[in-house]
Subunit: 386 residues, 4 copies
């Protein structure tokens, strides 16, 4: 049996790999190992650990590596500590293959610990183009990875241009779409009325048959120091519309504190009866909200990725998703109140865009699992293809 | 004044960047900061610190990050600790630009600490193709670096193919050649007779007017566990020739212990009157030895790089320099006693190859310094070029 | 000049050593070095860094070492990381003497980094007896320290019983009392009316001429998992009294999250119009509140230490201050709503206790500074006294 | 079953706890966990790992934490890294009790990781008095430990004077004596002739029926910088006697390099035909050498501890064993060639001293194991006894 270790570093991360984990677990030729670290072990980002256990997975090891501060200094040091911890875990669990997802800072810890100890590194969601430090991290991980599962054809071609061996680059689509497809068999308004309103935080009750907005805006690490100003532009635009709005707290990236403070301060100064803020939404809730909202606003990749499959109208703000391969459902705007307002007004006129399959059609997890159990593994020693 | 920080992690590293440091120091628009770590702070790899001070540089900070064990596990953990330490140093010294050289494991620590904290990363010697984990590290650093100084045209083209902005990729040649050119103004035999024989370790005195061999064979990290067998093939070939032989102890990479033990064990079992082993040779000594030896044997990049400029006959063994851009002076062989023996016998028939300038003509340091003081720096936020 | 390094790890820490720092800075025979770490560098515990700079001190170095999680695992790992960081700082700043305060977990990092690198360790506030892991840490630091400045005679005698050389154990009182004495030259009600009401957080305005309560209850690390239940007992007692109440958020110890959540949850379920909660109070504000409140409730050492000097009526809850040397102003109770309520009711009948000088009379900083500049330092090599 | 974790950090460490481990393993009420770290995982200090496995123990986890440099800076940083690693291991293995031995720097890592995570800490060999930083470390660990197994009555009394609860302080003798007693059932000369001469390193063959010397001199960390001078005094005294001499390489403490270099340099300058140097001797070999040598010279605690039980004549040099409780078999001298020479000459006149049982009579391991399986464990929260 092949020992394959999946690292989960955050809640978003888990959504991106859950479908793969599910199929690896049920694959008789594979022994699945699950390792948690970074924000996935922290209570304040939601009990991802509990979620994973509830979904039937066994956690083989976990580690705390996030150093407090939420600034570039601690982001870097947390990565160093992550390498130290993950190396020891690899030494103990002895996997043949380690899977990392995407481009968050902690993923570099896992990539280095894996390849420096002579294991096969598998990378999902590589080859895309975006903003922030994630852009550099993603391509650096590609240069370490032995097997690649990009989420779309554009990304696949870019990985090959980066000198990777085409024999080991596979576009099976994005495993997040697997979850979406599964979830959307249910009726979204019914689901939300039954599940969401009882779980919701402080704020007004949402009527899901009426127009409402969904906001998810995260810090941009390379714009550290300006995130406060940027989120304020969004808040001011929303405060003009005063439509019922569901907003998510920002993730743990450097700059997170700037955004949290700005939100708190804005609420103190304005009567935000229209605004409900949530720390962590279950994935299913988020999918149904995307399926129901009049417009998703912010800089989450979900607008581009799941949004295209679902057909969600999206207003994408600023540089974070720069150049990510996108469909017609997205309007891009700068960090300017007026532009944001105008774009939202345009999008809420549209009910839904047509579903597209740029990011796959919902069977990525199954295909990845099958391939990893059957493929003849590449040499540990990689060589650039040109 | 631009604050530019140069990291030196080993003796070999220092040779590769010394000429650049020299010109940065004398550049009135630049404040040079020097940071030492990894094997550069360890006595057993030669007092690189003393050497650097003697050369007139001030050391701004240093750190110990190498974890004992010399295996893949400790190589990975040392990298993690290096990130933690270098991050704190960057926080204190606050450089605008950090320069890293090449592809050794500790360089990844510096690259990550630099870009995660939003500084400009400059990379020398990128874009080459070789074996071992260095191959992956080199290209991953390229994906983090903002400005590139490859040492030859082939490497420059490869960096551009990797999606880097051609405006920030400069082939000024290899700064190591600067040292060679400077040094070869002296007469090598005279220099060695005067300086080398008094510094030499245990073993026979060398007559530099007669044929003698030079050996430098380092561990290949991706062949961890086989380095002992590999070095033995070399030793057995040498033991047939019994020509006077100057050998260097291996560097600190994972696998170093395997080679050291094999050498010790070989000496205990054989009468190696022909063999002298040295821990650390001053750079100047090594250059004159390369200029005088009948053949350089092993897997050091110096055979390919400086060797081509000097015209040294080289027998390159195994995968470590795989695919590195090379001239006619190099014969490549596998880890096989007979092949090694045959190649050496061929090379010692040739006195010297013609000098070539594939790796520059000796003014790299000056050009790099001038460019770094004058150039308009790129955006912190990198974006792939396709 | 003697180079003396003071480490500040938290806001409370700074209050305990500020008077010493002030006198060291003005001592011409001493070069003061200031190093910050742990929660002193974190925004969410108040900008201690800004405070220190505003008070006229230069910060020589700072480091982030707190690993997120706020549980026993991360408390231990943060201590390990603190050693790594502080060791490098000591290597750079090269102090002859390092001063640590008290018994918080991060102090062990400083103690180890200091004595392992052969420096003189000075310890203030040793020799006391309390609960939590701090009890063990305090005495372990005593066994590492070369010079001791306990804050009272009882503690001094205990340090000597622990085998320390009486020649290097000095009771000059507690430096916190220095701040109190200085501050109480002002009229407290006037000060608070002028300064506090404008700085206060969400909640009702306080009339300082009327009865009001002050609450400061921190987690007990050795009771991890039970802190939520414990704080609830206090909150329920307060909710019966409904007197105007000023409460502080808990410190960063393992268990902090349990208390924060309990408070938030309690506020959501009850109409706590009587309750104002503060993240960080300036020291001066806290002193005047202690001088004005009808009763200080919780488990802060300030109730025992400054409380006795000021004469504040105190209700001390649970095990955290177990056995700390205390005066008549303190009533000790268990974690039981009824007992807490009864004790508060008794204390608010009393206006003020008489001031006592168990913990010194306000010149500790001056005496410590003078002694450290003049004393012949002990041998680096300590030997137990029996 | 009680889960009890034993940490082994070095070869010497293993000798001190092996007998306890043996009895814990065979105790049906106990689940034994074995963790290795520090020099116990390094090849250059002998394959302690292989030794432990050969003795029938299963290793549950191991970690590399020794940072290269062998100076006070790296000793301190290695301790920090040890805390980080051991904390994660404790989180995974979840022992109720952790046992640490003695006073080496790495033991502080284990002690802190254990008590900060709310486990019961058991300490053997506490309460003794010696030189070096070990003196402070030992007593600091005592202040963290819940149950104490000192190796003699003097140490037991000192632990109680340190404020520990007498109910949890037990003098069952030293577990090292268990090994000695077991081993000395064999005839030492026969054993050595059969086993030692075939294992010996470079140097002359030893005739165990004639007079020969045994030397074991380790660095004194608090005398860092002077260890070279100190070992030279010993070497010069030995070079006058020119008796067959078996010497051990020094341990890994800061200063180790100074001693190694001094020995190498001395051998290069002198014809040391009388000197054989060994990296690691099996414990059994060392015991029989102690039983046969005319005199044991240096600063190893074995001279005092096992030496008294065996009756070995010992010349103890310098401050390392300062004040350790000792018998008549030891002559103490300073670091002076003449004094060392004189003391050796006196000792080799004596054949053997009478055996004493100051450090127990050979059943410590059995008693410790039994007590740990049956005792009602103390509270996690320690309180000083006065």
């Amino acid at each position: 049996m092949r020992k394959i270790c999946v690292f989960v570093g955050s809640r978003a991360n888990y959504s991106s790999i859950k479908s793969v984990m599910h199929h690896l677990k049920n694959n008789s030729k594979i022994e699945l190992q699950v390792v948690l670290g970074s924000s996935a072990v922290l209570d304040r980002f939601g009990k991802v650990e509990d979620l994973i256990k509830k979904d039937g997975f066994k956690i083989d090891s976990k580690f705390y590596n996030n150093i407090e501060g939420e600034n570039p200094i601690t982001m870097s040091k947390s990565t160093g500590l992550g390498i130290i911890e993950m190396t020891m875990i690899i030494d103990n669990l002895d996997p043949e293959i380690v899977i990392v997802v995407g481009d968050r800072f902690e993923m570099m810890s896992i990539a280095i610990a894996t390849v420096y100890t002579n294991r096969i590194l598998v990378h999902t969601m590589g080859g895309e183009v975006t903003g922030t430090i994630d852009e550099s991290i993603r391509h650096a991980i590609t240069k370490f990875a032995h097997i690649h599962f990009p989420s779309n054809e554009d990304a696949k071609n870019r990985i090959i241009k980066l000198g990777e061996d085409p024999k080991f680059v596979f576009n099976f689509g994005c495993p997040r779409i697997d979850l979406v497809k599964e979830e959307l068999r249910k009726n979204s308004v019914e689901f939300l009325e039954k599940n969401f309103n009882k779980n919701k935080g402080v704020g007004t009750q949402i009527n899901f048959k009426e127009k409402f907005l969904l906001v998810s805006q995260h810090p941009v690490t390379t714009e550290f120091g300006k995130n406060r100003i940027h989120i304020n532009e969004t808040l001011e635009a929303l405060n003009i519309l005063k439509l019922p709005t569901i907003m998510l707290w920002p993730n743990i990236d450097a700059g997170s504190d700037e955004i949290s403070k700005a939100i708190r301060s804005f609420r103190e100064k304005n009567n935000c009866y229209w605004l409900s803020i949530y720390k962590n939404l279950p994935i299913a809730h988020y999918i149904h909200l995307m399926n129901t909202t009049s417009c998703l606003i912010g800089n989450s990749s979900s607008g581009i990725r799941e949004g295209e499959f679902i057909g969600t109208p999206v207003v994408n703000i600023g540089s974070r998703q720069n150049l990510r391969h996108r469909g017609d459902n997205v309007i891009d705007v700068e960090y300017k109140k007026d532009n944001i307002l105008k774009a939202i007004e345009d999008q809420i006129q549209i009910n839904k865009y047509d579903s597209k399959v740029l990011y796959g059609n919902g069977n990525a997890g199954e295909k990845i699992s099958k391939l990893l159990s059957d493929i003849k593994l590449p040499q540990i020693q990689k060589i650039i293809n040109y």
